[in-house]
């Protein structure tokens, strides 16, 4: 005979049902503690980071002046802008591709349902280190290693990509349903075959979607790397700023906005198609 589950006493049950039907649902002790904690953290951060609405308001006119000085854009060197934007895009394509492939291999090691504990822990550690270093630092390092230019930028994007996407890939692999994996194992498939025919196919829609998001991010990221001489349009942007070449500066910014918007839209359309 199946044992009857222990039920709360009838009085408790009615009290609980009464609470469920009230229009205002009072959060529990845990919920209240969470709200208090969030408020405390925000207050602490505002106090520590010198945040001031007053200074923002008084500074507004000067921001307006800056924007007025930018106007009108000067598309006199539009050919150069297009050339540099294409270089930026090419850097993002190569950096994302290599970064995604390396991330994929690293993520097998960083997925708890695939990897033995020692490998899991060490690869998660590598990913955490990579993620905590900003791309600009990688760019500085590679500029001094391989010289100025887009190649240094690509290498920086590769390491940055692994830091951004490796953990997300690993979590996509971990979220794969285990039933089909058990079926493959019980049919005599090896570990490698279970990964190839069970884990990767089930994770692939997520993997493709995350890779496109990574590409969008890398297009934006590649526009900044020129700041330290690692190729792309960033160098021209900084130069224009230093020379107070405001018309040219605005033309560059507008062109970047157009490129990033187009890439984001295209990627959104593809992602919608595959999921």
């Amino acid at each position: 005979m199946p044992e009857a589950p222990t039920r709360p006493s009838p009085a408790d049950a009615t009290k609980d049902e009464l609470r469920l039907t009230r229009a205002v649902q009072v959060p529990g002790v845990g919920g209240l503690a969470g709200v208090v904690a969030v408020i405390a953290i925000v207050a602490w951060s505002v106090a520590g980071s010198d945040f001031s609405i007053e200074r923002f308001v008084t500074g507004m006119p000067r921001m307006g002046e800056f924007l007025v000085r930018l106007w009108p854009p000067d598309f006199g060197r539009f050919g150069l802008i297009v050339e540099l934007l294409i270089e930026t895009l090419q850097m993002a394509v190569v950096g994302t591709l290599i970064g995604a492939v390396l991330s994929l291999f690293l993520s097998f090691a960083a997925a708890s349902n695939i990897s033995p504990p020692w490998l899991y822990a060490s690869s998660r550690f590598v990913l955490n280190v990579l993620r905590s270093i900003p791309e600009l630092i990688f760019a500085l390092m590679f500029v001094s290693a391989v010289g100025l230019g887009p190649f240094a930028g690509i290498l920086a994007l590769v390491l940055g990509s692994i830091g951004t996407i490796g953990k997300i890939y690993a979590e996509a692999m971990e979220s794969v349903p285990s039933g089909p994996l058990d079926a493959l194992t019980s049919a005599g498939a090896s570990k490698r075959q279970v990964i190839t025919y069970g884990v990767v196919p089930q994770a692939s829609p997520l993997l493709v979607s995350y890779t496109l998001l990574l590409f969008e991010g890398n297009v934006r990221g590649a526009t900044i790397l020129g700041l330290v001489g690692a190729g792309g349009i960033g160098m021209e942007l900084t130069t224009a700023m230093r020379l107070y070449d405001y018309g040219h500066l605005l033309a560059i910014i507008l062109s970047i906005i157009v490129l990033v918007t187009v890439i984001d839209r295209l990627s959104a359309i593809i992602r919608k198609k595959i999921t």
Partner: protein, 268 residues
């Protein structure tokens, strides 16, 4: 002629069809303090469908797991396809598992692979070096397609598994098990997720396969009537012990009550 002479020798050497593929004597499995199986005996012979009946928790799944070394079992004897299960480790155990086809309640197909790709995964253990670069040879592909035709859905070979109905998915899963060229098929609640009409057709397919391939098919079920209609023999388990063993025809209502207890909600 030498060819006929050789064929004659082969015939002589073949074991009689009645030699059991699975021999289990006194199988015990315990998880910590909990005894899941307490000395179960079972024989499964080529060409027969053997139904395991019992409540959930009676030990049906554990018994099936013990046949492929997936449960911590001890036994006086536990032989599957001529090999002592308890003595197999590593590669030998993988080879033994490849000889045992599984069919699951929730099909366990890879949902975004095509039907034929799912069938092909049943042959991974013998896919050979070609598979290292991620492909399957055309011999294997022909075999997989033929199996899909055998289970009646050859026209849906290209369809993604998730786009198929439950009954069709279970047929793909059966074709995948056959792709293993199994010496026995274990089906754990294969029709519990299907409506009654599909349940009947899947079970008769399994019965046809047992006869065609001359292998035993062990099916765990929880509906007594399905066991009566589709099995040759029945083993009833209750709390890890055998409480009934005999031909399906001998499974009276009294015997069913013995398996399921007096509260007997044992399905019509």
């Amino acid at each position: 002629m030498t060819a006929t002479a050789e064929a004659g020798v082969v015939r002589v050497l073949q074991p009689p069809a009645s030699a059991p593929t699975i021999v289990a004597r006194g199988v015990r499995v315990s998880y910590g303090q909990t005894v899941a199986l307490d000395g179960v005996d079972l024989d499964a012979r080529p060409g027969e469908v053997l139904a395991l009946l019992g409540h959930s928790g009676s030990g049906k799944s554990t018994l099936m797991k013990s046949f492929t070394g997936m449960a911590p079992a001890t036994a006086e004897e536990l032989t599957v396809a001529g090999r002592d299960v308890l003595a197999q480790r590593g590669t030998a155990l993988r080879a033994l598992r490849a000889d045992v086809g599984h069919v699951f309640q929730h099909f366990n197909l890879v949902p975004n692979l095509s039907a034929i790709a799912n069938v092909l995964t049943g042959g991974l253990h013998r896919a050979g070096p070609y598979n290292l670069v991620g492909g399957f040879g055309s011999t294997q592909r022909r075999e997989a397609l033929a199996l899909l035709h055998r289970v009646g859905i050859g026209d849906k070979a290209r369809r993604q598994a998730r786009s198929l109905s439950g009954g069709e998915q279970q047929r793909v899963a059966i074709a995948r098990a056959l792709m293993q060229r199994p010496k026995v098929i274990l089906a754990d609640e294969p029709v519990a997720s299907l409506d009654p009409r599909l349940a009947g057709s899947v079970l008769s397919l399994l019965r046809d396969i047992a006869i065609e391939q001359q292998i035993p098919v062990i099916v765990s079920l929880h509906v007594v009537d399905l066991a009566r209609r589709h099995a040759d023999r029945v083993v009833g388990l209750r709390a890890g012990r055998t409480v009934f063993a005999g031909p399906a025809g001998a499974l009276t209502d009294g015997a069913a009550r013995e398996i399921y207890g007096e509260d007997g909600e044992f399905g019509a």
